[in-house]
């Protein structure tokens, strides 16, 4: 909220300098986010001037020449605006003045005519108003006077960040109360500011009150939504602009002046925090106003001429014919004040926070009024504000208050009584606060508190609905006492082992391992397009549906990712566009989907996934990059991942053609102990083409949780061999469809005790091998634990092995 420093000064005597006020407010919980200060410019460079004569520029149709008097001398000014006449009082920037846009005024010649300064528009000097013409001041502004004083731009404005619990600080008076409390100023009773310009003698509200019956009758039918309703009539009005001082205040608060009625309701809203609404009496049907639930009412046209659909629980204000306002949110078009209004019915009511909030949110109507009702309006101010606004309207519009205040519902006069135990203060804060200090702190905030039976009893005032319980009082005491008084003290606790979830420490270890072998980590947003979720179903089951966002920021981020691959592919594309040739990436994070249930009962499933991608030429033994990424390159990464998880023996890769994102002939299911933990393979050519990516892109995605859960214990020490081994090579001729792993598995399956290890050393296709076939070179290592094997022993077992393989797999030995 914007708070002009000078306005605070009307409520707090001996207000300290702006910087001091800002510091104290910030350190007590009312954060001053910024201080807007008047421009730093000598006051004599921007002054009031009177136009003595205006005539056309001899050489330019759209320019005019003005002779002005600046209080000291006559100056000739060339001006582009046309909205001024001789006799007008205007704002003159003399040579040397720096304008809001940063331009410095110089004496110059414009199309042959000398100009000794500039006549200013609002924007040029950072004043309120959006008229493109120059500012025309009141005739009371003396030529030569400093324009900043006249325009009220010599003020500081605080921008306050008000937390949702402090609705009481959404008014100048509320902030002033807080300033008085935190600056240790004596809390003198606050007078109503005068009805005239600031500085005139203050008047007590009671002196304003008019007597007699109101011409209107009001009633509250829905007590849960509207606690109290007040109204008053002001007659004989003439709509016009509000006084300059009021316009300046509103402009400083960020409001655009409109007319004397709207401006007064806004002024009092900002001053006292009570929202007000003015109806044109002539447009109201009958003389009975009621506040009730919308019930069966279906729609309502608000004063911005929009038709709003109503819910039965919305609070509406009705006249004899139907709804005339959406209570606490916005008035209606049919009874709005216009230029021809001569009489108004002014409303000040107390609406329920939650009801107003729900209506305002649903309709997207966030007004200054609804904002304050949501955060709590002080019931002590309701009638005061009504009377003050009525009197100001009567004065500025030349009208009279007719009759007294129409009333329905009781305005609460105080909040609950809350007990505060001194020992509880110490318990929460860590050191005691003397009861006297605590009482003084509460007192400064306007909370009446006394000591009874060793505890403090506090009567909460109506302006602090946020204070409901003991802990709320402890906070008030702590912040007024000063947080800095509670010195740090390390907690004492019994020793215990701090734990990290296994998946987390695994991911942490893995990151450095993968970085060590050349992969870089990316962090991708968890949002995903529906298309990419369909293309990359990730680790979720085939039936799993994507979680859809009800309010996505962008259309292509409408769902939550089911896989980490879209993020990796996006990163690949970004870097390829930037000219990076080799892109090896990994990513860890959650993927989400709904595994069962209907749309009504979404049961989300989150998976801690890990994915990697490699693409582009590799670096070999010679300088430079060669070839393309291959399946084997990514398999090396996968082995590293398995080792990180403590898995020593090889995992199993089973070819699959079921993954929509992977090449059906270059993809595999990753299995540990038969359980599938993820998949690996070449990116599907169609997907690569759609995303304009290199065809040789290889990816895998695995479920970290399954991997970590699988990590086996150490199998125990194997005897270190004492006798030498003997190796034999053999080359098999097989169809291309045969997997090398099948030969290894077949030999393993023979359970020959002398076979120590089987290794694939060649996969050859081409000259000498028929098309559709391949030659697989295998080394078998033989060793005995009992002694050195003889040539004959090795040859015998090798022959058995080769024969078994050719027979079982129906392949032959290459001659």
């Amino acid at each position: 909220m914007r708070v002009p420093y000078s306005w605070l000064g009307e409520f707090v005597e001996n207000l300290p300098a702006p910087d001091v006020v800002a510091e104290r407010l910030t350190m007590s919980g009312l954060e001053v986010e910024s201080i807007e200060r008047p421009p730093e410019m000598p006051a004599e460079l921007l002054v009031v001037a009177r136009i003595e004569e205006k005539r056309p520029h001899p050489n330019a149709d759209r320019l005019s020449l003005c002779t002005v008097f600046d209080g000291e001398m006559i100056r000739e000014i060339v001006c582009g605006a046309q909205n001024m006449e001789a006799g007008d009082h205007v704002v003159l920037a003399k040579p040397g003045a720096r304008m809001a846009g940063g331009m410095t005024i110089k004496k110059s010649k414009i199309r042959g005519a000398v100009s000794e300064g500039m006549l200013c528009s609002s924007a040029e000097i950072g004043a309120w108003g959006d008229s493109p013409g120059i500012i025309i001041l009141a005739e009371s502004a003396e030529p030569g006077a400093a324009a900043y004083d006249v325009l009220g731009l010599d003020d500081c404005v605080f921008e306050l960040g008000i937390t949702p619990n402090r609705g009481d600080c959404l008014s100048i008076r509320g902030v002033a109360r807080e300033v008085a409390a935190v600056c240790r100023l004596s809390t003198s009773p606050m007078l109503m500011p005068s009805l005239g310009s600031p500085g005139a003698t203050p008047v007590r509200v009671s002196e304003l009150e008019s007597k007699g019956d109101s011409p209107f009758e009001v009633e509250v039918e829905e007590r849960d939504g509207c606690l109290a309703y007040r109204g008053i009539v002001v007659d004989g009005l003439r709509i016009g602009s509000s006084p300059d001082w009021m316009q300046r205040r509103l402009a400083a608060c960020g409001l655009r002046p409109i007319n004397n009625i709207v401006d007064v309701t806004n002024y009092v809203l900002f001053e006292l925090g009570q929202p007000l609404h003015a109806f044109d009496t002539a447009l109201l049907a009958g003389n009975r106003i009621s506040a009730r639930s919308a019930g069966a009412l279906r729609e309502f046209i608000t004063l911005d001429d929009e038709t709003r659909e109503l819910e039965p629980s919305d609070i509406v204000i009705c006249d004899g014919s139907g709804p005339v306002a959406l209570g606490g949110v916005m008035g209606g078009a049919s009874t709005a004040v216009s230029d021809s209004t001569t009489s108004i019915f002014l409303e000040a009511a107390l609406f329920d926070s939650a009801r107003i909030r729900s209506t305002a949110r649903r309709l997207g109507l966030l007004s200054d009024s609804s904002y304050r009702f949501e955060r709590g309006v002080d019931s002590a101010m309701t009638e005061t504000a009504l009377l003050r606004a009525a009197a100001l309207i009567a004065k500025t519009g030349g009208g009279v208050i007719r009759g007294g205040v129409a009333r329905a519902g009781e305005l609460p006069v105080h909040g609950p009584v809350v007990r505060l135990r001194p020992e509880r203060i110490e318990r929460v804060l860590g050191s005691p606060v003397p009861t006297g200090d605590a009482l003084a702190a509460l007192c400064r905030l306007g909370i009446k508190a006394g000591e009874t039976g060793g505890a403090i009893e506090a009567r909460v005032p109506t302006h602090r609905p946020d204070i409901e319980a003991e802990i709320d009082l402890i906070e008030e005491v702590a912040r007024i006492h000063g947080y800095e008084k509670f010195t740090p003290e390390m907690p004492v606790f019994s020793m215990h082992a701090a734990e990290t979830p296994p998946v987390r420490s695994f991911a942490q270890r893995l990151r450095s391992e993968l970085a060590a072998i050349g992969l870089s980590e990316i962090v991708a947003l968890s949002f995903c397009s529906a298309e990419m979720n369909r293309a990359c179903p990730g680790l979720h089951t085939a039936e799993a549906r994507a979680l859809k966002l009800r309010n996505p920021l962008r259309a292509d981020e409408g769902e939550m990712r089911k896989s980490l691959l879209p993020g990796l592919l996006d990163a690949l594309r970004t870097n390829c566009r930037n000219g990076v040739r080799t892109v090896d990436l990994f990513c860890s994070g959650r993927t989400m989907a709904a595994d069962h249930g209907s749309a009504e009962a979404v049961e989300p499933v989150e998976i801690d996934a890990l994915a990697a991608l490699i693409c582009g030429p590799r670096r070999g033994r010679e300088p430079g990059l060669v070839g393309e990424a291959s399946f084997a390159d990514l398999k090396a990464v996968l082995s590293r991942v398995a080792r990180s998880a403590g898995i020593r023996e090889g995992f199993e890769l089973v070819p699959t053609d079921k993954r929509p994102e992977l090449h059906p002939r270059a993809a595999a299911d990753i299995r540990f102990s038969g359980e599938s933990v993820g998949s690996v393979g070449q990116l599907h050519p169609l997907l690569a083409e759609t995303l304009e990516l290199n065809q040789h892109t290889y990816v895998f995605e695995i479920d970290s949780r399954k991997l970590v859960a699988y990590a086996p214990r150490h199998p125990g020490l194997k005897q270190v061999a004492r006798f030498p081994s003997s190796a034999r090579d053999v080359s098999f001729l097989a169809s291309e469809e045969l997997l090398a792993g099948d030969i290894v598995a077949t030999i393993d399956g023979l359970q020959e005790p002398l076979v120590e290890m089987v290794e694939i050393f060649d996969d050859y296709r081409g000259r000498g091998v028929e098309a559709g076939n391949k030659a697989l070179g295998i080394t078998v290592v033989y060793r005995s634990g009992k002694g050195t094997l003889t040539e004959e022993e090795v040859s015998a077992v090798h022959a058995r092995v080769v024969a078994a393989v050719t027979r079982r797999l129906n392949i032959s030995v290459r001659g």
Partner: protein, 358 residues
């Protein structure tokens, strides 16, 4: 050879022949093997000199010492010739071995160059590591939450303006994306008896997207509950934590604020890490004010407070018995300050030119 033919003179002559011949052959030996053959031919078991020495037995007793002297001199001369040649051959051999081409030590290393861990991971691990060392365990929770855990149980009822503090992404069907890591507090307390000390790191989501906000970012939530945990304890733990990240002489201040699930609540400011709390920046730019702290000398770094009794009541802890504190740290914010990163979107832009700097 018979004893009669052995005379001192003949032996001396024979020895001189051996010497002359051996010296010449040693000098001509092409390599170590040839030189060894020369040595064996003269000094070996069946060598010519060895043979002569054996023949000395046939001499008179008076002549033997003189012949022995001559033989020793010859042996020495042969040894010396062999040694000289051995060294020459060794030097030549080494020179040949060292004479190959110069290795170009400036050529690139083979194999894949090293990759990079994401700066957010680096910072997240560092922050968690500090809390682990202080005795906090790490807890995790779902990112897709329900209204109860994200709001209700944290004293943020429906239709309460505190909900405006956190613009929420809603999932069709009623769930939402957690707006903070605080729901992990609730989930942990519901399943554990006090005392407990946890931090909950993870991704959170806000319906917000501009230069200073990302719709997804990361937080670390902290919670300590037990008997006698106080606001002063909170200040001590967080001051220690901040000193470990930003350095021991860091200025820290706690300023009253509002979070629905803590009371009293505080916003923690630290002395600006860029201008060292002076508020001044490069002369000329931004009117000489520090850009990072906007000239205030202070930076808002985290939010914290004492756990609200309503939150305890909701999870079944007796607020009269237990007290506790909670805090929430923005990981991006800390990473940006520590690593001097000025645009939050760089973290999620995947640009290797950025990532490779960490």
């Amino acid at each position: 050879m018979t004893a009669g033919t052995v005379t001192l003179a003949s032996i001396e002559r024979e020895l001189e022949d051996i010497e002359r011949d051996a010296v010449v052959r040693a000098a001509e030996a092409a390599d170590a093997a040839a030189l060894e053959a020369v040595r064996v031919g003269v000094l070996g078991k069946k060598g010519s000199l060895t043979k002569v020495l054996r023949g000395l037995a046939g001499l008179d007793g008076g002549e033997r010492p003189q012949a022995g002297q001559v033989a020793n001199r010859v042996k020495k001369a042969v040894d010396e010739a062999l040694a000289v040649r051995r060294e020459a051959i060794g030097t030549a051999r080494l020179a040949a071995r060292l004479g190959g081409p110069q290795v170009d030590v400036t050529l690139p290393a083979s194999g894949q160059p090293t990759g990079h861990v994401h700066p957010l991971s680096v910072v997240m691990d560092e922050l968690c590591g500090i809390f682990l060392s202080l005795g906090f365990s790490i807890a995790e929770g779902p990112e897709v939450e329900d209204d109860f855990h994200n709001f209700e149980a944290l004293n943020i009822p429906a239709d309460h303006p505190a909900r405006d503090m956190q613009d929420t992404f809603f999932i069709e069907g009623g769930r939402l994306l957690r707006t903070h890591t605080s729901p992990v507090q609730v989930r942990t307390m519901k399943g554990t008896e006090p005392p407990l000390m946890i931090v909950a790191p993870g991704a959170v989501y806000r319906h917000d997207d501009d230069v200073t906000h990302s719709p997804m970012f990361h937080q670390i939530e902290g919670l300590m509950v037990g008997r006698g945990v106080t606001f002063r304890n909170l200040k001590a733990v967080l001051t220690e934590f901040l000193a470990r990240i930003f350095g021991p002489d860091l200025a820290v201040k706690f300023r009253p604020s509002y979070f629905p699930f803590t009371e009293p609540s505080a916003e923690v400011d630290i002395g600006c890490v860029m201008c060292r709390g002076t508020g001044s920046g490069d002369a000329g730019a931004d009117a000489g004010r520090c850009k990072v702290c906007k000239g205030t000398g202070w930076l808002e770094i985290l939010g914290c407070g004492m756990v609200h009794p309503k939150v305890f009541a909701d999870v079944g802890y007796d607020p009269e018995v237990y007290t506790g504190f909670a805090f929430g740290i923005g990981v991006e914010r800390i990473a940006m300050l520590k690593l001097r990163i000025d645009d939050i979107r760089l973290f999620y832009g995947h640009d290797m030119r950025f990532l490779a700097q960490f």
